[in-house]
Amino acid sequence: MTTSPGGLPTASSGLAEHGHDPDAAGHFGRFGGRFMPEALIAAVDEVAAEYDKARHDPEFLAELDRLQRDYAGRPSPITDARRLSEHAGGARVLLKREDLNHTGSHKINNVLGQALLTQRMGKTRVIAETGAGQHGVATATAAALLGLECVVYMGEVDTERQALNVARMRLLGAEVVPVTTGSRTLKDALNEAYRDWVGTVGNTHYVLGTAAGPHPFPMMVRDFHRVIGLEARAQVLEQYGTLPDAILACVGGGSNAIGIFHPFLDDSSVRLVGCEAAGDGVETGRHAASITGGSVGALHGAFTYLLQDEDGQTIESHSISAGLDYPGVGPEHSFLRDIGRAEYIPVTDAEAMDAFRLLCRTEGIIPAIESAHAVAGAVRLGRELGPDATLLVNLSGRGDKDVDTAARWFDVVDPASLPTEEPASPDAAAGEREL
């Protein structure tokens, strides 16, 4: 295992063999696979073959580690949230600070890997889906760094609400295409990215933003994010001499969660807790909790839990956190839930926003609203387990992007000072929409 300054595992360690890969066709148990048009099978085969070569190529691995260290700022630290602990039953709460990465979230881990892979494949153009920008900004960033043409698909509704992020992507040289079909949000942006890819596979790689979609994306994106858990495991062991009792992470598509969970899969004493966005409450039907409140089916390339009606039509999700506002989930999470290795709990908008404020005021950290769902889960679990427990929370992103949403939620600024484009409902005020 290669190490970074400080002796921690590096990003490339995440790509090493670990014994938890899906079968050759991408199945995690009954989940995953490739539910997608034949026209794209050759493209995903090419990605799978190239990824397999890259993960064994010392040059690729060295370049990934160099960028992760010198450009993205890895490793990210662990912060002992001592004042937050008082509100979490006295349990020790450790924060894995992915919010401190370049571009402000864990997304950069995956994007750097896929952008390097794009170069290896000799492709010159990348496309990405984004709801409101986090993955889009990360992709635009990596494309700028490596000199790739970049097109980001984004629901029209989101381009209007997230004009600032559209501007960020354009400043970075990306073309942002508003998607006007369907619900004009994230899932439609994803549909549109697939449509682009069918016609452009010759020169284009689709940088999928989460550990979902057809094989090899769930496996590959997971591996690029495994560095989160590898670092955290070494850091916690070294600094506290013990493994955590539980790890909490928010789950939309589930990339940050699978990244931190995965290196702990064989540590059977460690509980893995995914915090799904329950919106107004799972019982109201207005939520994004695909595992807690959904059923199995095929969406966007994989067999997994999803939100669907009795005819198999996708149901629109709802969450104040647009990053979690997606009606599906990565197939490995579905698998981990079915075998009982991970548990998934719903966290409502209100609980997440309480945790958001709590973290701001106790630790001086403004989290992404996505990550606030994991903080809320930790507060709940800490109260249950008490002061002897050690909880590790993946703080997957920073909350600058959510300041407007939070300011409205808590009514902390004069409404007249906010942008005039008043969203129609609290959920419409959602900040970043990401898988």
């Binding site: 048009p37 034949e38 439609d188 016609g199 089916g297 996708t314």
Partner: protein
């Protein structure tokens, strides 16, 4: 396949679908296959439009089952399907459209993304479609690798599982896809989503030539055909000419426009056809 002996016509879905291509071949022409989605503009309206297409010369219709996330469809079909879904169309409506068409002798297959079938239950879907008189199912986002019992269900109910091949398909994938397919093989003319195009790309002819080396199945070529002359061109090398988006656009103008375009396409598949 039927109890009536070697000379009795095969009235199963598979048998009738075979007839479509045998008949066309006997007439030295390609079959015309017309796509329109169920429920657009309404369920009754779609039945009327599909009936019009059959009456105006389509040998077979593809009844589209509206789905919320049609990743292989361009804007025209997306819009029609959106309209149908907003109008409240259900999976059972697609089956009832097929039933109405079949009752008056129309030949119909269903074109559907996979999740609605998964949700309905693949075995139940095959059973209910066969009992409605449907002949087969085209599944644009299901590859044979993930069929999980679908081939068995379609065999049990004697309807055709119809898969797609694309210009990007490897020789090996063409072979395995053709081996899993019954009725006819959907041959995508180009790398792209559905939608009328000005010219049928050369890749269609090249792909048909490649596919012929692997199978004797009739080959239906789709994606991009919109005119009689294009139909005629495709008919010169394919067994079936599939037209979707152009008919959906015509449907926006009403039944007469669908009839006009279908007649033009039907003449196209009969002209300039050099046979195999």
């Amino acid at each position: 396949m039927t109890a009536g002996g070697a000379n009795a016509p095969d009235r199963t879905g598979l048998g009738v679908l075979e007839d479509v291509f045998t008949t066309a071949r006997a007439e030295s022409r390609a079959a015309l296959i017309a796509y329109l989605p169920a429920g657009y503009p309404t369920v009754a309206g779609s039945t009327g439009l599909l009936t019009q297409a059959l009456d105006a010369g389509a040998d077979l219709v593809e009844v589209g089952l509206p789905y919320s996330d049609p990743v292989l469809d361009g804007p025209v079909i997306q819009h029609a399907v959106d309209t149908a879904l907003r109008g409240g169309v259900r999976v059972r409506d697609t089956l009832s459209v097929v039933e109405t068409l079949a009752a008056r002798g129309g030949r119909a297959v269903v074109m559907t993304y996979w999740n609605p079938v998964l949700r309905y239950g693949p075995e139940a879907f095959a059973r209910d479609l066969a009992s409605a008189g449907g002949l087969g199912v085209i599944t644009p986002d299901l590859v044979p690798d993930e069929e999980h019992g679908w081939l068995a269900a379609t065999t049990t109910h004697a309807i055709a599982p119809i898969f797609l091949v694309a210009p990007s398909s490897s020789e090996q994938r063409i072979a395995t896809t053709a081996a899993a397919t019954r009725g006819f093989l959907y041959t995508a003319s180009t790398m792209g989503v559905t939608g009328a195009r000005d010219a049928v790309s050369d890749t269609a002819r090249a792909l048909v030539e490649r596919v012929r080396r692997h199978t004797d199945l009739p080959l239906g070529v789709g994606l991009g055909v919109r005119s009689g002359s294009q139909a005629s061109e495709v008919a010169s090398f394919a067994d079936g000419v599939i037209v979707g988006s152009a008919l959906v656009s015509a449907a926006e103008q009403g039944r007469a426009a669908v009839a006009r375009l279908t007649s033009e396409l039907a003449a196209g598949v009969r002209g300039n056809h050099t046979g195999r």
